[in-house]
């Protein structure tokens, strides 16, 4: 006999009972050891039982102390296994549904059958079918022991499901409503609808939870219209027959109230007048409790212009605002808005967690909330937005955690919790295009750490975490090769957001040889370029503005490269230019799927006006060129040219290329561009993006003329391929690529577009959205021909998928409405594949 409290030394441990587990396993699992001291009723035994219970494998566990001999004793662990499931029969549903039920409830053979399993399965099934409108669902589960030669204890389970008929709501009847019509009240019920012939989207099912919610909506509807005493007296379901029910709701409307005097108490920061402007409710207005609550604190919109935010954005974190009804005489309600402002709150600790790749300094410099500064809710919201814009973290998962708010000291901490996301992209592709195999290797690292490139440990797989971006791209086919490398540091020097960027590129293109069908290596066009740029954030007019400047140099080298585009097949051309741009961007939050804010940029790129100082008489050259052109066109019109005339034609051609070589030895031009787009949330998910852009390429000296480079190519998918001659490829879907500009590119263009976007998923693994668009644009060579209303229009729809490792991929189907500039009708539908982000 054991009383409890005695201590024994364990001599042997044995396992008895109905179990299939080996003795050793159970003893090891119980953590009870031989030659160990145990106390009856002590912790060790309790723990052993607890651990065994947790395994969820046994239906009973007992530990006995046996064979007591002085201070030694044996332990006996007595257990029985839980029965395992052998066969399962489900009756009353289709075969396809059975697998679903088995999966969702984990009813696989071998599963331990507990009471809990039976109860949760039953509840799951009942509520599942009720939600689908089978109000009379009845589920029965029975088990029976299996008797066979296997020693394990096993049971068969039988699930009987009687769904009954699908029940629909035939009618919703109201009683007691005199002011509001039945129709209006039914409309207020968002989720519970009565049967109607034309209803497709919302079915007339009865779901208890939804119905309860809707009753609250009905009362809210009354409250919004001044009936603040309105209430539901009773509600009931009556069964009309197997399939139909009707809902009867009895309401009491009460009297209509209006707002009386609204006074503010306790406000020192804002005057009564300022507050009542914010409140926007006047004496005599219909009493609307919902609106009053929203004007004080709008729960649905953290940026709302309400009274709470007015205080929250002024440091008054601890402020509380309570509307109190002080009198309700004659259905006129006088309100007192009682405000307790509290102390202004200052940030104490500002911390960041979750950055296991990105270094602190890259993050902390972007934070708008800093230690010792006044708490402003708007700063937190802006910080979230800007951290999301960096692209290193998943924008959907940035969470600001307010910690240790201390109303006495007026301090609080904020901790931003971030989740790193892949910001590197690797592109390795091979494909056929342009008459041959094209291989591409693209690497872009957007959170690079160049200081770590010699550290072996930092290669995981590349050194990351300093917010620099580095991109490398190699592309080659038999007709062209391009190499480009770029690097940028967003905070050069670490003191201010002063971005330094540089890029080097080189490309070679070869002409097509008509006889062999291969590239003719003796005819080539080489472009080598170098760009250095800086950009800084401005503080005026506001700090969303960026000023950027760049100097770029490109060298064009043509060898025997005679095409329609160039009049000089052999020669060189140099392009040294300066670009200055001003842009403003306040997109919120996710850079892949912005839901608000706008982008706007204007830039000018220009070369030195050489013709003003180099003393070349371009007018004479122009006249000379016109004369030569006359000879050329005369010759072309001539059916039987003489030998002499042919010689003159050849001379004229040679002279034209000589003149053009002189005109374009150093490119002289200016280029103005303007671009703007907006993002506007229409509903909770739907986003509208209007945008417009213009570009103009001009010459300082009209005799010298507009250069053949740096031009605009409008139409198509907008993907800039290998061409590095400064061209701008402008997307205009629905038309073939570059079909809206002349062959050499236009010098003026304009484009307008309206895009409607709908997100399908915005998870961290993949962001997918669907879009539809209306676009219109035009491109001409001369300002005289520019008619901003003569546009090529199109409409269409598409899909975008963004995955961190692959970047943005998309497909668009566009329908063109207008003829191409050359008068031909375009194909009705054009398919565009989109790779990479279009900005």
């Amino acid at each position: 006999q054991v009383e409890g409290g005695e201590t024994y030394l364990i001599k042997e441990i044995s396992v008895t009972g109905n179990t299939n587990f080996s003795e050793q396993t159970i003893i090891a699992y119980s953590k009870l050891r031989k030659d160990e001291e145990i106390q009856v009723g002590g912790e060790k035994i309790a723990n052993a039982v607890k651990t065994l219970w947790k395994s969820n494998l046994f239906s009973s566990i007992d530990v006995y102390v046996v064979n007591i001999d002085g201070n030694t004793a044996d332990l006996e662990i007595h257990l029985s296994d839980l029965p395992e499931l052998k066969d399962l029969t489900i009756e009353g549903v289709k075969k396809g549904k059975k697998d679903e039920i088995i999966d969702e409830n984990k009813l696989k053979p071998g599963q331990k059958v507990t009471e809990n399993l039976i109860a949760t399965t039953k509840n799951y099934l009942t509520s599942k079918y009720r939600k689908k409108g089978f109000l009379n669902t009845d589920v029965r589960i029975s088990t029976s022991e299996v008797i066979d030669s296997v020693e394990k204890e096993r049971v068969d389970m039988r699930i009987l499901i009687d769904k009954g008929e699908k029940v629909k709501i035939k009618s919703i009847n109201f009683e007691g409503n005199e002011i509001m019509s039945d129709k209006k009240l039914r409309k207020a019920m968002k989720n519970t609808k009565q049967k109607k012939f034309i209803r497709f989207l919302k079915r007339s099912k009865y779901i208890e939870d939804d119905f309860r919610e809707d009753l609250v909506s009905v009362v809210d509807y009354y409250k919004e219209n001044g009936y603040r005493d309105a209430r539901i007296i009773s509600d009931s379901i009556s069964y009309l027959n197997e399939k139909n029910i009707s809902l009867d709701i009895k309401v009491e409307e009460g009297e209509k109230y209006t707002f009386g005097k609204i006074s503010f108490i306790g406000n020192t920061i804002y005057s009564d007048r300022q507050l009542s402007n914010l409140l926007g409710i006047k004496e005599g207005d219909t009493y609307n409790g919902v609106e009053l609550r929203e004007r004080i604190a709008d729960e649905t919109n953290p940026d709302a212009n309400d009274i709470t935010n007015a205080y929250q954005n002024f440091g008054y974190m601890f402020s509380t605002i309570n509307p109190v009804e002080v009198s309700a005489e004659g259905n006129v309600i006088d309100m007192e808005i009682r405000i307790s402002e509290g102390k202004p709150a200052y940030f104490n600790h500002v911390t960041v967690v979750g950055n296991d790749v990105t270094n602190d300094h890259v993050i902390y410099r972007e934070l708008r909330t800093r230690p010792g500064e006044l708490y402003r809710k708007a700063d937190i919201i802006r910080t979230i937005r800007e951290l999301g814009q960096l692209g290193y973290f998943d924008a959907q998962q940035i969470v600001p955690d307010i910690k240790n708010p201390n109303p006495v000291d007026g301090t609080l901490d904020v901790e931003y919790s971030l989740v790193e996301q892949g910001s590197s992209q690797i592109q390795l592709q091979g494909g056929y295009g342009g008459g041959g195999f094209i291989g591409t290797l693209g690497l872009s690292f957007n959170n690079f750490a160049i200081k770590d490139i010699f550290k072996k440990d930092a290669y995981k797989p590349v050194p990351r975490g300093d917010g620099q971006s580095l991109a490398l791209r190699l592309q080659a086919s038999q007709f062209f090769q391009t190499y480009s490398f770029s690097f940028s540091e967003p905070w050069y020097g670490g003191k201010k957001p002063f971005q330094l960027s540089s890029s080097i590129s080189h490309s070679r293109q070869f002409l097509y040889d008509n006889t062999t069908g291969r590239a003719d290596k003796s005819k080539s066009f080489n472009i080598t370029g170098l760009t250095l740029g800086v950009s800084t954030r401005l503080s005026e007019p506001d700090d969303y503005f960026m000023l950027s400047q760049a100097i770029s140099y490109q060298h064009y080298d043509l060898q025997n490269y005679n095409t329609g585009l160039f009049t000089f097949g052999d020669g060189t051309s140099n392009n040294l230019s300066y670009t200055v741009g001003l842009s403003r961007s306040d997109l919120s939050v996710d850079p892949i799927y912005p839901t608000g804010g706008s982008n706007f940029s204007v830039s000018a790129k220009f070369s030195f006006p050489y013709s003003l100082v180099n003393g070349v008489d371009y007018k004479a050259l122009k006249e000379d060129r016109e004369d030569q052109n006359e000879i050329i066109s005369d010759y072309r019109a001539n059916q039987n040219p003489t030998l002499q005339e042919t010689a003159a034609f050849n001379d004229a051609n040679a002279r034209v290329s000589e003149i053009d070589q002189q005109r374009f030895n150093w490119l002289e031009f200016y280029k103005i561009k303007f671009k703007a787009d907006w993002y506007q949330s229409l509903t909770k998910k739907l986003v509208l993006r209007p945008s417009m852009e213009f570009g103009f390429l001009g010459a300082y000296n009209n005799d010298r003329g507009v250069i053949p480079f740096e031009r605009f190519f409008v139409g198509g998918d907008g993907l800039a391929n290998y061409s590095l001659d400064g061209r701008e490829v402008v997307q205009l879907r629905g038309y073939p690529n570059q079909s809206l500009s002349s062959q050499d590119g236009g010098s003026i263009y304009s484009k307008f577009s309206l895009e409607l976007r709908y997100p399908i998923t915005l998870g961290a693994q993949a962001k997918i959205y669907a879009l539809s668009f209306l676009e219109a644009g035009t491109s001409v060579n001369d300002f005289k021909d520019f008619d901003p209303f003569k546009l090529n229009r199109s409409a269409g729809f598409g899909l975008r998928i963004f995955m961190p490792a692959f970047g943005l991929l998309g497909i668009d189907f566009g329908h063109a409405f207008d003829n191409l500039p050359d008068g031909t009708a375009p194909k009705k539908w054009e398919t565009h594949f989109i790779i990479g982000q279009q900005f």
Partner: protein
């Protein structure tokens, strides 16, 4: 085909056990680990499991998989608290956490975890021969946290956020009373206050000058021989001069 490959593919558990043991003794961690991985399950609940579990954890430790090693060492001490290897396992588990601690400029979750684990070890085995090393590791990890807070405060100074810098240094000095970087913190706190005062708007200037001088005095008192003092003295002179213009005005 080597002996190892043969044994790896065979079904002979005992031979595997023997070879794993030999390889372990010969410090062939990778090969030993592969064998142990195969047979560990088979010995579950048997007396050999104790040794095997320890060897298995040790191999992953030696191979540099510290997350895994710590997990298995922790499990070992949990299952075999009476084992003679328990102390070593507890220490290596904690040390595994130490190796997982990243550079100071990234999230320090693992660092804090490692400090806690090492502290627990020290509390549990106050007589341990590993005590010296454990304390050394804790010190190193503590410095990481200190360095992190210091660098963040210093960055505020660098990006001209002087107010934030002062506050961050104040917090730093409060939270790291024995800090190695205290002297530097005193100086940069003063530097931030100096800049804030010198660049201040007029109506706050006098207060800020006084604050800055206060921080100078704190530096001088705490570190009378600070290498920063020479520079600080010059800055303080300028502050005094500017302050005099206020006192003469009124």
């Amino acid at each position: 085909c080597s002996d190892f490959q043969k044994t790896l593919k065979s079904e002979d558990t005992a031979a595997k056990f023997e070879m794993a043991n030999e390889l372990f003794e010969a410090e062939k961690w990778n090969k030993s680990y592969r064998l142990l991985d195969q047979i560990l399950q088979k010995y579950r609940g048997k007396p050999q499991a104790e040794k095997l579990t320890f060897m298995h954890a040790m191999c992953s430790y030696k191979l540099g998989s510290y997350y895994e090693a710590s997990f298995h060492f922790d499990k070992f001490t949990d299952i075999y608290p009476q084992s003679e290897k328990a102390e070593e396992a507890a220490f290596l588990a904690a040390k595994g956490y130490y190796f997982n601690s990243p550079v100071y400029s990234k999230e320090q979750k693992e660092t804090i975890e490692a400090i806690e684990k090492l502290q627990l070890f020290v509390n549990q085995y106050p007589e341990s021969s590993y005590l010296g090393e454990a304390n050394q590791l804790v010190k190193e990890l503590d410095f990481k946290l200190e360095k992190k807070a210091y660098e963040i405060a210093k960055q505020y100074n660098k990006i001209y956020e002087y107010k934030a810098s002062i506050k961050a240094f104040n917090n730093f000095l409060l939270e790291f009373p024995g800090a190695t970087l205290r002297n530097d913190a005193f100086y940069y706190r003063f530097d931030s206050a100096y800049n804030l005062a010198v660049l201040s708007v007029e109506y706050l200037k006098e207060d800020r000058l006084n604050d800055a001088i206060g921080y100078y005095n704190a530096l001088k008192k705490a570190y009378p021989n600070s290498e920063y003092l020479e520079a600080a003295n010059l800055m303080e002179e300028e502050l005094q001069q500017q302050l005099n213009t206020f006192t003469t005005k009124s």
